[in-house]
Symmetry: D2
Subunit: 338 residues, 4 copies
């Protein structure tokens, strides 16, 4: 039976676990002043071709987003995101908590923002100053909550708009590996124009490791305080950094993302022509949103397959998520039971 | 050469690392709905003889304190603690951030609060309502920031005072193992009267694992939201829970705490009679605060020993911290170079 | 020329000013412990037939909303409101600031929420606990931001829904007088089912005076702290209370609301049949939202009439607001220049 | 009988009330865009010889402090103040709420900070970064909570220290008029080196009017948002501004402060030589802190005089506060009953 409940249900990749074992020798300075964390800085700079980047390892993806946003805005400012964004729906108000500011959820097809979806909001808001929180950040999820991926040209349009209006770009990269694998390009191109990337490790084979990758060096100032004050500065930081280093070494993160995406595509290909099965969004990363006949869904659940109903897309809608650990056998078993 | 900089500089205990390797098989429900976390609940209940306790694994000790305090107070309330407490000095304002409330730092010998140190503060504050934040929690650090330990009778006095005045007791147990080892008694006695314990793992052999142990069952309500909103709910929770389980199994936590304490005592015994060496506080756990002649300190640093000056106790004051990983050889080497 | 920019541009009603002069004699206890504020309690209880109500005078309407909401939710909870609500758009994030929680803006015709507009949101959110802020309040604006008024049966439906789902009802009554005048019924009926009313005075002839009217007595507990901590407890409270008392005496507030509504209706009647003029929403209180030919709008502005373009309703949309101080002459002059 | 309970119990000065009556004619732009508020800007600039100052009228003194501090710090920073400061004790945590940061209360004679009282705190804290909130503001209360006044040279020392360490100076001027009257000098000298002054009106004859006087022009940027988001932007701002203008015209504020101080001095002179009466602090403004024999205090209360016990200074300690409205007769009556 298959587990497509979430990429969070997967275990830790063996190379990540090996890295934790390897790093477990002797004393090391606490709070990120260790050589593993120092090396990680260099690796991220190389991967993203960003020689001035600063990297802060954190425990948790929601927190990583919150730290990035807290650094970017003052409490009287706002963050523009898609209304389906994780920061708007799935973090229990953490972004408002960490920033003190306002989240403005916008519409847009397939969970993607566009310049058109933002429209004249920024101008109208500024004219209404100081009565409405001032827009300051566009937060983009890459890949999106609905398994789609911003193209490089879509990203370029949004970042040009942001620059023209004095806005920062935040990228929620909880599934950045899936996006990079999907775009099949240099990772540096995916983050062109991005000020802070929330780099996701946990959904892609890490145990618990994310990183705030500060690509705009001006935002590195005081980030250490933001990091500490939110309880996200690991005392034994080497053990978070080592996980990330293991993912970055030899492009393991992209390899794992590519595998997860391939599994999603195999699911898609196996489902697409079946009677009663509908595809709600293009499958561009490692998530599928489908409609299934009730009898099919019931059978799948009865046979032990794990996945979630997605009621806000309709009573017959479901989400399937693949991961680095998904096997061909799981896909085959699921399709056989459909 | 010896590293007495902090118990945070130590590595992970082999049994903790083994537990992480052992738990790394197959999928598991995310967000704490896994069997490892479920088992951990039972273990904590047994250890603290608290059948109604609820346990929430978290990543970080400061955050653990903040979650506990956030659950206990409303933002117009205050937390009474010693002015030397970690929550007052070493968390970059996290407690104010997580709670929205006020920290009131009080004096008291050897970093310990007493009923006398609180005095008539509670009554005077309530008479001044609503102009002053209402006291709601007494937060005690066990063992304290200065390496001392509250006795059971001191704890009983404070918890009786708290009950009489409608206050909660929070225990910052970042070094609870050292305190339990020092008191050499049933752990349940150390937390008698405590409403929420911040159970520390990271300083005592874990990689990154703490737990909010809710001993007052009424405070378990809604704690899951507090946990989530602060970015402290691990998606792959089994990997935090497994660390804690490894520490609790066979009382490993107490064994490790006892070892660290014994190393501190050996240091103390080796230092106490030397000319020019002074002891600033009783050594009751795994920290020593000493005065050293400058020539001695300089020599120790020059030979590669690691420890911190402690300037707020004077220009010749230093802190030495031992851990589960401290060896007899380290102690001997340090003393030989004194 | 006419000023339809806002009911905030109006002066203070003479009876309110007289009340301030009258109350200015001798010393009085500070912070609301004065006889004027005590008397105001009784008056509000009588007006709203709510013998257990508690009233807290405040300076400002946004703050009044924020206090009410802060008392109602914990920071991990959310407030459901119309996306056009003042709390969502016009308070610069104050509600998020005061509550720590999340504002969820919903759609609905003419700025009104309905049970249908809330739909299955509450249930779906609770199933997703603790990942999404828990809904706890429905905030209704009466009269609405678009000059419409909830009928008593619409209010009854919403409050029944709220009770069934454990939600509070907050009423933003910045223009409650206009709503009561429009419904032409006992004020108590307009607040049936409401837990806290933000009673508006400033837009209706006061100088600066609003009141948090706590109709659900359980919510009065600790409200004094919420009030104080937000800088909304007047030290010389008698001068805020006296304004409100003057409005309530002899139903002056309703008389003034009725006048403003009548002026809006006269404007509507004078505009409705003109070529090129469109009405965007029913006129049920003291605000009109209209489309005007550009030439007409330009002429009106050129002749000194004051009113605002309303660009988010279209390039040719405008808002006209009447007040207690609007005169027949102003209406006639405006219509003559149309 | 005399009322020395607080300067908040006094009524409104007739000239302030007259100003409110005078300004009550016709419409005026809301939210501070009116001519009264514009004129007030110029007046403040003249009074404090600060041609680039910006002034924001607010309702409430605690809020005024909170706004100033919120503009000055980021949430991971701290504010140094005397432990007796209003912001530390009497605002129910508002400063922590408005700023998100930490208040650090320091000791010092007669409620005054000095460079010595700050000592090496700033340096030690910065060395401990990012674990402790970074000091960013020194907040001084002038006149102090204990009725003393910083001399110009004390202020110069503190502001030189602040500049040298990159700190701002905030002045809580709830009783600034009393301080200026006491120092008997150009008001501009009293605020030399101050970045933001909380100018107090309410305790000195206003109805409810304070002003954030931004003397450091860089801090004016975005202050309008801070002002709005906290519910302190008056919609009918002319009615707050007019009160302040009335106080500033013809130096009425200083005249009133001088009167209040003179009444305090008369009380002091009448009390000082009596048996059993002790003076706890120098009387330099409009507050006395005295010890009285219990029989005396009881007699005074019994005869209807109003003043507060001050228990944190001892069981026999009392506070007497005079105001602009205190009369010679009140002082005589009080002394006669002593």
């Amino acid at each position: 039976m298959a587990n497509f409940a979430s990429d969070n249900t997967a275990p830790v990749h063996p190379k990540v676990l090996q890295a934790l074992n390897d790093v477990n020798a002797g004393n090391a300075p606490a709070y990120g002043n260790d050589v593993v964390t120092e090396q990680l800085q260099q690796t991220f700079r190389t991967v993203f071709k960003a020689p001035d980047a600063r990297v802060f390892p954190v425990f948790n993806g929601s927190a990583c987003n919150g730290l990035a946003l807290a650094r970017m805005i003052r409490p009287y400012e706002s963050i523009l995101c898609h209304q389906q964004a994780h920061i708007n729906n799935d973090e229990c108000g953490l972004p408002e908590f960490f920033t003190g500011g306002k989240i403005v959820g916008l519409s847009g097809d397939h969970a993607k923002l566009s310049v058109a979806s933002i429209g004249s909001l920024v101008e109208q808001t500024l004219e209404h100053a100081p009565h409405t929180s001032r827009p300051r950040v566009i937060s983009l999820t890459q890949s999106t909550e609905l398994g789609t991926v911003y193209s490089l040209s879509e990203l370029a349009d949004l970042s040009a708009f942001a620059r023209a209006h004095g806005l920062y770009i935040h990228m929620d990269g909880a599934r950045i590996a899936n996006a990079v694998a999907s775009l099949n390009c240099d990772p540096a191109k995916v983050v062109a124009g991005v000020d802070i990337l929330s780099f996701g490790g946990t959904k892609n084979g890490a145990m618990l490791a994310e990183a705030a990758v500060i690509l705009n060096p001006a935002l590195a100032e005081d980030f250490a305080y933001v990091h500490k004050r939110a309880g996200q500065l690991p005392s034994k930081a080497r053990y978070v950094s080592a996980q990330l280093q293991a993912l970055l070494d030899d492009d393991l993160w992209i390899t794992l993302g590519r595998h997860a995406n391939a599994m999603a595509m195999a699911l898609r290909d196996g489902l697409i022509d079946r009677a009663g099965v509908g595809l709600l969004h293009p499958v561009e990363a490692n998530e599928l949103f489908v409609t299934l006949p009730k009898v099919t869904a019931d059978r799948l659940f009865a046979r032990g397959h794990r996945f979630y109903p997605w009621p806000n897309a309709g009573a017959d809608a479901y989400r399937l998520v693949t991961s680095f650990a998904t096997t061909d056998d799981e896909v085959a078993a699921f399709l056989a039971d459909c």
